[in-house]
């Protein structure tokens, strides 16, 4: 089974809704180890994205949708998440350029490119207590699922499960990047907000494929 523009639009819409629903949670996580604006920034960005979806043409590809998300987030999210998520969606768009339908291989390429974009932009490594700690497990799980011959939906589910576990796994870490890195051991016990928003968005991707 392949996923097309309908799925991309559903992912974005569902993602915006989930971010909005979890806005306070993300603010709280970010207040504990950051500057408290992650939920607000992401909600503003995705609200702007939803408004822009009206401009998407009928023959848009999934890549076109992701690119629109990228440029909108970059110019509305602010903080570090704007450049990070913006670059993620931009690179993801590039990885699936021209395709009207995405199979397992394309989905893995999409997720990998997104993760690589974040690493390129933010220069974080696994274990730094950042969103990379949700993205990398997601990419690895998606690759493994694909190698096992799983369907597109199952690949996305594997990615979402791994991202959620990855986000939880940031709790005991000391931050080595970003605003939280100024806190030293006080960051221990708190989940990284960027990893949490990643988990939410990747779960939205999987749910959009199942709907």
């Amino acid at each position: 089974m392949k996923l097309g523009t309908g799925w991309a639009l559903a992912w974005v819409t569902r993602g915006a809704s989930v971010i909005s629903d979890h806005r306070v949670e993300l603010i709280t996580l970010d207040r504990e180890i950051g500057d408290g604006d992650h939920g607000e920034n992401m909600d503003r960005g995705f609200t702007a994205v939803i408004a822009k979806l009206a401009d998407v043409s009928d023959d848009a590809t999934p890549a076109d949708v992701l690119k629109l998300v990228a440029t909108t987030l970059i110019s509305t999210v602010g903080g570090a998440s704007g450049p990070l998520y913006g670059t993620a969606y931009l690179k993801a768009s590039g990885a699936i350029a021209g395709k009207t339908e995405l199979d397992g291989e394309a989905l893995v390429a999409l997720l990998t490119a997104a993760r690589d974009g974040i690493v390129l932009r933010g220069k974080a490594e696994s274990g730094d207590k950042t969103m990379v700690d949700a993205w990398t497990p997601a990419v690895d799980a998606a690759s493994a699922a694909r190698a096992d011959g799983k369907t597109a939906i199952d690949i996305l589910r594997a990615a979402a499960d791994a991202a959620e576990a990855g986000a939880v796994a940031t709790e005991p870490l000391v931050a080595r990047k970003g605003r939280a890195s100024y806190l030293g051991e006080r960051a221990i016990g708190h989940r990284d907000p960027g990893a949490q928003s990643t988990a939410l968005l990747l779960r939205a991707a999987a749910d959009a494929a199942a709907s």
Partner: protein, 227 residues
């Protein structure tokens, strides 16, 4: 075709303040502020940074100063969206925003190229060696160098605008010039000497225009920087 500067801060006030301060020292340098979010709040704006870069560019390239981490991320993202020609001549200086901008502005105004302006900004990172106080270190001056002493009579001594005038004037000469052992063409180096009115300074120069440099700088000091 001088180098332009962009000052990126999470705070609109910081960015405009830094630009205002830098303009005190380098009135004709092209410096553009890009601080705060689009709505004027705390944060950085991809749009403001992108616009500022194109405004600052005048053929000589642009050096960007940033405050905290995500200002760099936003700027790097903005660079990604530039066309290749412009991107090739925009650099982000790794420097403290106030000191770096001030040093860079002075170098840009004296016609420094992209590499020189960036280096000036980044000179703010090193603690410039300074004989604070006015003891002219004779041991530090190589034999054969022209030297002359003068006493600061202007109100501010060798700070702020007078320091900038001094550095700019020194930069005009084809010579290696020091003031109390510190590079006379380095604004931050001069300012780190902490020289005030009444202090004596020793100007030393070597090179083709050494005599002209010493004469001009001594005259500048003796004239109280035109006060």
């Amino acid at each position: 075709m001088s180098v332009g500067l962009v000052v990126v801060s999470h705070s609109e006030k910081i960015a405009t303040g830094v630009v205002e301060l830098a303009r005190q020292m380098a009135p004709s340098a092209r410096i553009v502020a890009a601080g705060g979010t689009d709505s004027g709040g705390i944060g950085t704006s991809f749009g403001k940074v992108s616009t500022a870069i194109t405004e600052a560019e005048d053929g000589g390239g642009v050096v960007v100063l940033c405050d905290l981490g995500s200002a760099i991320l936003t700027t790097e993202t903005a660079l990604d969206f530039l066309d290749d020609d412009l991107r090739a001549k925009v650099v982000i200086a790794d420097a403290p925003i106030v000191e770096g901008a001030v040093a860079a502005a002075v170098t840009a105004e004296t016609g420094g190229d992209l590499a020189a302006v960036r280096a000036a900004a980044e000179s703010a990172n090193r603690a410039e060696p300074a004989d604070s106080g006015a003891v002219p270190g004779d041991a530090a001056i190589p034999p054969g160098t022209l030297t002359e002493t003068a006493t600061l009579v202007n109100r501010d001594g060798l700070h702020a605008r007078p320091a900038a005038e001094f550095a700019k004037l020194a930069s005009n000469f084809d010579a290696t010039v020091t003031v109390n052992g510190v590079n006379a063409k380095s604004l931050l180096g001069i300012m780190s000497l902490g020289l005030v009115r009444g202090n004596r300074v020793t100007i030393a120069a070597e090179g083709t225009e050494a005599r002209a440099a010493v004469n001009a700088l001594v005259e500048l000091i003796n004239s109280a920087f035109g006060e």
